[in-house]
């Protein structure tokens, strides 16, 4: 059961850069320890929060894309909850959305390509239907 998740979390702004790197690497080892893979890590940098969280107005956003089952997310979220400098996190499952987007993309490309090719007839029929 392999699923793709996006874990976005915010760490407090006064955290040192190397501490953040250390935190990310511990999370990565936790992911691989529970049978998942880290697909990408993106530090989105410091951002102003839309509302105060605790007593912070700013936060450093980190986006983690992982692949694995639900148990992995359970463990990852537990760790984030325990880790003190993390002030907020959000996990979103993205594989189904990605699948949907790929499908749409495929349909669009298929529709684009056959226009000059022999498959022009269905398109002609479509336009005719629209004009009627």
């Amino acid at each position: 059961m392999n699923r793709t998740y996006e874990v976005m979390f915010i760490v407090r702004p006064d955290m040192a850069e190397e501490d953040l790197d250390k935190l990310i690497s511990t999370l990565e080892t936790a992911v691989s320890g529970t049978g998942g893979t880290v697909k990408s890590v993106e530090k989105m940098g410091k951002r102003r929060l839309a509302y105060t969280v605790g007593r912070f107005h700013d936060g450093v956003y980190v986006l983690l894309t992982v692949e694995g089952g639900g148990g992995l997310i359970h463990e990852l979220e537990r760790r984030l909850r325990v880790t003190e400098p993390v002030i907020k996190f959000l996990t979103v499952r993205i594989d189904e959305e990605q699948k949907r987007l790929d499908k749409i993309k495929k349909i669009r490309e298929a529709r684009k390509k056959p226009a000059p090719a022999p498959a022009a007839t269905p398109e002609g029929g479509e336009t005719a239907a629209v004009t009627v």
Binding site: M8, I10, R47, R48, L49, A50, Y51, V53, G59, L63, K88, F89, L90, V92, E97, L101, I104, K105
Partner: protein, 124 residues
């Protein structure tokens, strides 16, 4: 005078009478059934009140610009559909179609949870 006032009302009655007579079997149904064919081609609610003003047809931004992914990270896009108070702007005001509004509202709610958008009030 009395004849004159009668004259305009008579054709209106005669034109509306066929519809109820047709659907007499349905009892009181003719009401909703009658206006529908007339209301459809008429287009826009402007005619009913007798006011004739041009109302621009609202279109779904996501359908027109073919934006497929409505992501919670895309704050700039989502912010267009959030009122200054932080509320999600209703479909009837923005013209977004139902499937896209559904995705939009869930994306906005996700963005709120991770402090990218405010729950209430202005960001910052």
């Amino acid at each position: 005078m009395a004849e004159e006032t009668k004259a305009p009302s008579a054709p209106a009655e005669s034109s509306s009478s066929p519809a109820p007579s047709e659907s007499h079997g349905h009892g009181h149904r003719p009401g909703p059934r009658g206006p529908r064919p007339g209301g459809g081609p008429g287009g826009g609610g402007g005619r009913e009140g007798g006011r004739k003003y041009f109302r621009r047809k609202k279109v779904c931004k996501f359908c027109v610009e073919k934006i497929e992914s409505i992501n919670y990270k895309d704050v700039r896009l989502l912010a267009q559909f959030v009122a200054e108070s932080g509320k999600i702007v209703p479909r009837r005001l923005t013209g977004v179609c139902t499937p896209h509004q559904r995705r939009l509202s869930s994306a906005i709610k996700q963005a709120r949870n991770i402090a990218l958008l405010p729950f209430a009030g202005r960001a910052n």
